[in-house]
């Protein structure tokens, strides 16, 4: 018989500390010197997620569209800042590029899901908008941050190629088009691979969580399929929008490659 759901109590959670204790034992045995780091990490996981639980509970009690929009905007601002911070290269105007890319993806994809797929009533219901919005923004952040790094690497690698194309009369967009394609390609391959193997090798976290919380696996699977499609579209859209803004930063108004930007930070 299928249980309604498994309740994880605080005392149950304490038992899971066994995992940390076991890891500590192994780390010590191998003299990896990671004991303190692991202890701090475990403590932070506990404190941060517990706090987040209470914060989310409060968020879920708020039923106002302005509150939801504000919250999503704050999430996007934080993600854009984090994406900018993660860059190895200082890309000019990267923060606004991330902001536009994440905002556009969130509006289009989250809007479609809330209004046309899940038919959420009201559309700003925090139970749907917060977790799905978070997934879209988080996935967009990870993908665009990687793509931007790769793109700058491609520009450095292809500097002569780009100048040759410019010298033959190409516009900046055409001169960097191969670099953009390679960067987006590299970003999308992990998403496609995940779509190829999902369910065969591992059960995705969201689905596992839903099943453990007592949701019918068939329903959980439907959610997961929607999430996989959503992830891929977010990555594609956010990367294209971000690159369409970023590549322009590497050219002057006279269609010249700003080579000085490629010399910064090896």
């Amino acid at each position: 018989m299928r249980p309604d759901f498994y309740v994880l109590s605080w005392s149950d959670l304490l038992v899971s500390l066994f995992f940390i204790a076991f890891s500590l034992f192994l780390i010590k045995k191998w003299k990896l010197g990671l004991e303190n780091t692991l202890l701090i990490g475990s403590l932070r996981t506990f404190v941060q997620l517990t706090l987040m639980g209470y914060v989310l509970t409060w968020f879920f009690d708020q039923q106002h569209w302005a509150f939801m929009l504000m919250l999503l905007l704050i999430m996007i601002l934080i993600a854009s800042y984090e994406g900018t911070r993660r860059q190895k290269n200082s890309i000019p105007h990267f923060f606004p590029a991330m902001l536009v890319a994440l905002l556009s993806s969130a509006i289009i994809i989250l809007g479609t899901i809330l209004l046309f797929i899940l038919d959420v009533e009201p559309w700003y219901s925090p139970y749907a908008a917060i977790p799905i919005g978070g997934m879209i923004i988080g996935n967009g952040l990870n993908s665009t941050a990687l793509t931007a790094n790769r793109f700058v690497g491609e520009l450095k690698h292809r500097e002569k190629e780009i100048e040759t194309l410019l010298a033959l009369g190409a516009t900046p967009k055409l001169a960097v088009f191969d670099a953009m394609k390679t960067s987006i390609h590299a970003a999308l391959i992990p998403n496609i691979n995940a779509m190829m193997t999902v369910g065969l090798v591992q059960l995705p976290g969201v689905m596992t969580g839903q099943i453990l919380a007592g949701i019918d696996p068939i329903i959980a699977v439907r959610y997961q399929i929607m999430i996989m499609y959503m992830w891929f579209t977010t990555a594609t859209m956010a990367n294209m929008i971000m690159l369409a803004i970023v590549y322009r930063q590497y050219f002057t108004s006279k269609m010249q490659l700003r080579r000085e930007l490629l010399r910064e930070k090896a």
Binding site: K160, E161, E163, T164, L165, L166, A167, L168, G169, A170, T171, L174, T252, K254, M255, Q256, L257, E260
Partner: protein, 241 residues
């Protein structure tokens, strides 16, 4: 008059790369720009097709400011870099790369492509051959043929033969000089190899620390101190003649 430089300066950060350049270039000239390493030769060459812009001063091409139509300028002013860029693909794909944005190039017929290859001395090359398998000299010729398909009036040479052996370098320069005559091209070549340039150029601009310290024919400048002042040995120059 093809190019006119008026009080052209180039400053990068706090460095004065080029200072107060004034000169003109007329159609059909073969001009060599020579100077020691770091004299500003390559920076100057990049200004002819607006890959670099001056910090101060004006450059005109056929009487019009060089920035007026940059894409048209770059089709008119081709460039051959020191290390030619050969794209991943066949000889044909490399030659027609500008067809991505220029319909005239994408519609180039095979016999026109073969004629361009013939002009640069690449006669036994299949269009389906992988371009990156070509030798250094062949790749340089391929890059030249690719430039020629744009029907330029000017070709800029940025030390195009410095990575080739002297015999091959001379062969390629001979080919370029023939093209200049046949197609009435203007050639502006940057080189540290003034011995090689002496064979082809009618005019030499000598750069030293970003300034022009000599502009004229080789014979006249031989009588001045310009070559020595630019850090180039006069004996070396004379021996080459």
């Amino acid at each position: 008059m093809l190019f006119q430089f008026k009080d052209v300066h180039l400053q990068v950060d706090d460095l004065n790369i080029l200072q107060g350049l004034n000169f003109e270039i007329v159609r059909g000239e073969f001009v060599a720009v020579i100077g020691a390493s770091g004299a500003g030769k390559s920076s100057l060459l990049r200004m002819f097709n607006a890959l670099t812009s001056p910090s101060q001063g004006d450059i005109t091409f056929r009487g019009v400011n060089i920035d007026t139509d940059i894409q048209a300028l770059r089709k008119n002013v081709g460039v051959l870099f020191q290390n030619p860029v050969v794209f991943n693909g066949t000889v044909r794909e490399n030659l027609l790369i500008a067809g991505r944005w220029d319909q005239n190039i994408s519609q180039t017929l095979d016999h026109e492509i073969l004629a361009a290859l013939d002009q640069v001395g690449l006669v036994d090359i299949k269009l389906t051959h992988h371009a990156r398998d070509l030798s250094g000299g062949e790749q340089q010729r391929l890059a030249l043929a690719r430039t020629l398909l744009n029907h330029p009036q000017v070709i800029l040479l940025d030390e195009p033969t410095s990575n080739l052996d002297p015999k091959l370098a001379r062969e390629i320069m001979d080919q370029i000089d023939k093209l200049r005559e046949a197609l009435q091209l203007t050639i502006i070549a940057v080189s540290h190899d003034h011995m090689l340039m002496r064979r082809y150029a009618q005019r030499v601009i000598i750069l030293s620390h970003g300034k022009i310290i000599g502009d004229g024919d080789f014979e006249t400048l031989d009588k001045s101190h310009a070559f020595e002042d630019a850090g180039l040995l006069k004996n070396e120059v004379k021996n080459a003649t």
